[in-house]
């Protein structure tokens, strides 16, 4: 079992890149530990800014830095970054078009039993609704590293959500196919297309294995790029499928599933089932218990496919 969470993978990339690019700046809102960015702060204090528990300030300061040529990565719990700082993300980052990468850590229900205040089940909807904001939910540590490297290459705003806990590897260091804003095809089948993002990619892939044993063949798309959504990748995959199932750690409205529905219904209409968290505060528990409860696991996904095929 992998023990490196995606947030740590981000830190490792930035630690490496800052050696050659002194414009990289990491900002935290008393969140350097939660973000796994303490080693960065310790090794590169001159490239690290602490804002204290002030998420709005975190984002505005990042925008100001970017406007003066810096490459800021503003990291804060996704729940606060996406909604408390929403105005700053919209105006100072997106509207002013500043080169800020917003890192939402402990996303979704990572904080488990801490309750709804600490869950970010609205961030995909909120961030995707902002023009000029890109939204990424990488699945494992290798893809996270590739994504951060790619984001360092451009100068546009982006929001990246990662979970708190280590997730099992999907790729390997040597084999992590990555094309910016293109979904990664994990396997190809003819009956059903499973489209997942973030921590839901692994269970979606495992569901395809369960289904395979039952004679149902599935395509699995790792849709780490929620916005811009890989429209062509979706249409190619769903063209001959009988069913599409989306899986995400997000509220049922306005997330990746809703966006897939828009794309499929307009271009290639067929049945799409969205698996997501409920439109309610989620049940108390660790994130795995929460996922199991709502069927956001391999068995639950496979069952949904069987029921809808």
């Amino acid at each position: 079992m992998n023990k490196i969470p995606n947030r740590q993978a981000i830190c490792e990339v930035l630690m490496e890149k800052v050696k050659e690019d002194k414009d990289i700046v990491v900002l935290c809102s008393d969140s350097r530990g939660s973000a796994s960015l303490a080693p960065f702060a310790q090794a590169h204090p001159e490239n690290f800014i602490e804002t204290g528990i002030a998420e709005q300030n975190l984002v505005s300061i990042a925008a100001g830095l970017a406007k003066c040529g810096k490459k800021p990565f503003a990291a804060s719990p996704a729940c606060f970054l996406s909604t408390r700082s929403y105005e700053q993300c919209k105006v100072d980052v997106s509207y002013s078009n500043t080169n800020v990468t917003l890192i939402g850590i402990s996303g979704g229900v990572s904080y488990g039993a801490l309750g709804m205040s600490h869950h970010s089940a609205q961030d995909i909807a909120a961030m995707s609704a902002i023009p000029n904001m890109r939204v990424y939910l990488p699945s494992d540590r290798f893809q996270t590293a590739k994504l951060i490297e790619a984001l360092l290459e451009d100068e546009k705003p982006a929001y990246v959500r990662v979970g708190r806990n280590p997730v099992e590897d999907i790729y390997t260091e040597e084999n992590c196919p990555f094309e910016m804003d293109k979904a990664t095809v994990l396997c190809e089948g003819t009956d059903v297309v499973l489209i997942a993002c973030g921590e839901m990619v692994r269970p979606a892939y495992e569901a395809s294995q369960i289904l395979k044993e039952k004679g149902i063949s599935a395509t699995v798309l790792d849709m780490y790029c929620v916005k811009p959504l890989d429209r062509d990748g979706i249409l190619k995959a769903v063209q001959n499928a009988k069913l599409v199932v989306t899986v995400e750690e997000h509220a049922p409205f306005g997330g990746m599933g809703s966006m897939v529905c828009q794309t499929v219904s307009a271009n290639c209409p067929k049945k799409v089932v969205n698996l997501a968290l409920p439109d309610a505060p989620v049940i108390t528990g660790a994130s795995k218990e929460v996922f199991d409860h709502y069927g956001l696991n391999a068995e639950g996904i496979a069952k949904t496919v069987e029921e809808n095929l």
Partner: protein
């Protein structure tokens, strides 16, 4: 600096023309803040069309973005774009001269309009200057009503924490906001003490509609080391004509033909009296 005082009346005329042509605008605040903008652009900052891409240029963020008409008038006077173009197009369909700062226009660094953003953004700009060892200065202008936004104080805290002596904020203290007197809406009478307690140097400008006094204050701020400075400019909302002066109703009002005539007459008389 008599020429800058004369300029302030020419720009006031341009602002009113803009608002009449665009059928809307924040006229009262424009009139109170225009002298601060003139003092910054003509007597303080090293910024103009000739060096707008220079990494060493001073930075300005219009935090009270609703008074963009005053900013347009000053930027046009600096040569960033023609004033006729602004007056003809302000707020019109498809125009790039929209009702709040738009950084697709030359001379405008950041978009604003949502209050309480300018100071935190300026903190980021000033931090970047410190990190890079560049000695440009960063300026922002806030309204007094705006100071009720919590994000202003997050920024104020950070500016003092990081000892940003390259940052200077100005408060357009006209004592009126859309609903009435600031002291009735949300009191700020201890404003100086508030900023001091946050670790700031505070300079009070008795007549914030006097360009000379403002230039002196901004120059003084440059010499303060180890802390940011706030210049509190005591201004008159609607300054320039008795028709508008000190009246909350002129926060956002378009003059009638009759009022327009009187306002222009007042501007001309005051300019003449300089």
């Amino acid at each position: 600096m008599a020429n800058l005082k004369a300029l302030s009346y020419d720009l006031r005329k341009n602002i009113v023309d803009m608002i009449v042509e665009g059928k809307g605008g924040h006229i009262g605040g424009d009139m109170s803040v225009v002298d601060t903008l003139i003092a910054l652009y003509f007597g303080t900052m090293n910024i103009g069309p000739e060096n707008q891409d220079d990494p060493l240029r001073d930075r300005f963020v219009m935090s009270k973005g609703h008074c963009v008409e005053a900013l347009y008038a000053v930027l046009a006077a600096k040569g960033f774009f023609p004033i006729e173009e602004v007056i003809q197009n302000f707020s019109k369909f498809g125009s790039k001269y929209i009702g709040h700062p738009n950084n697709k226009l030359p001379g405008i660094e950041m978009n604003s309009g949502s209050l309480g953003h300018g100071l935190p953004v300026s903190v980021g700009m000033a931090l970047a200057g410190k990190m890079d060892g560049k000695d440009y200065r960063v300026y922002t202008v806030m309204g007094d009503g705006e100071l009720a936004e919590g994000s202003v104080w997050e920024g104020a805290m950070a500016a003092a924490h990081y000892k940003l002596d390259n940052l200077c904020a100005a408060v357009d203290r006209n004592r009126l906001q859309i609903s009435g007197n600031t002291e009735d809406v949300m009191a700020h009478d201890d404003l100086h003490e508030r900023f001091r307690s946050f670790g700031w140097n505070v300079i009070d400008v008795k007549d914030g509609n006097d360009v000379d006094q403002l230039i002196v204050a901004f120059a003084e701020a440059k010499d303060v080391k180890g802390k940011p400075t706030v210049v509190i400019a005591n201004t008159i909302k609607g300054c320039g004509s008795a028709v508008m002066e000190d009246k909350a109703a002129w926060h956002h009002k378009v003059p009638t033909a009759e009022e327009y005539e009187q306002i222009m007459k007042d501007f001309a008389e005051r300019k003449e009296a300089l």
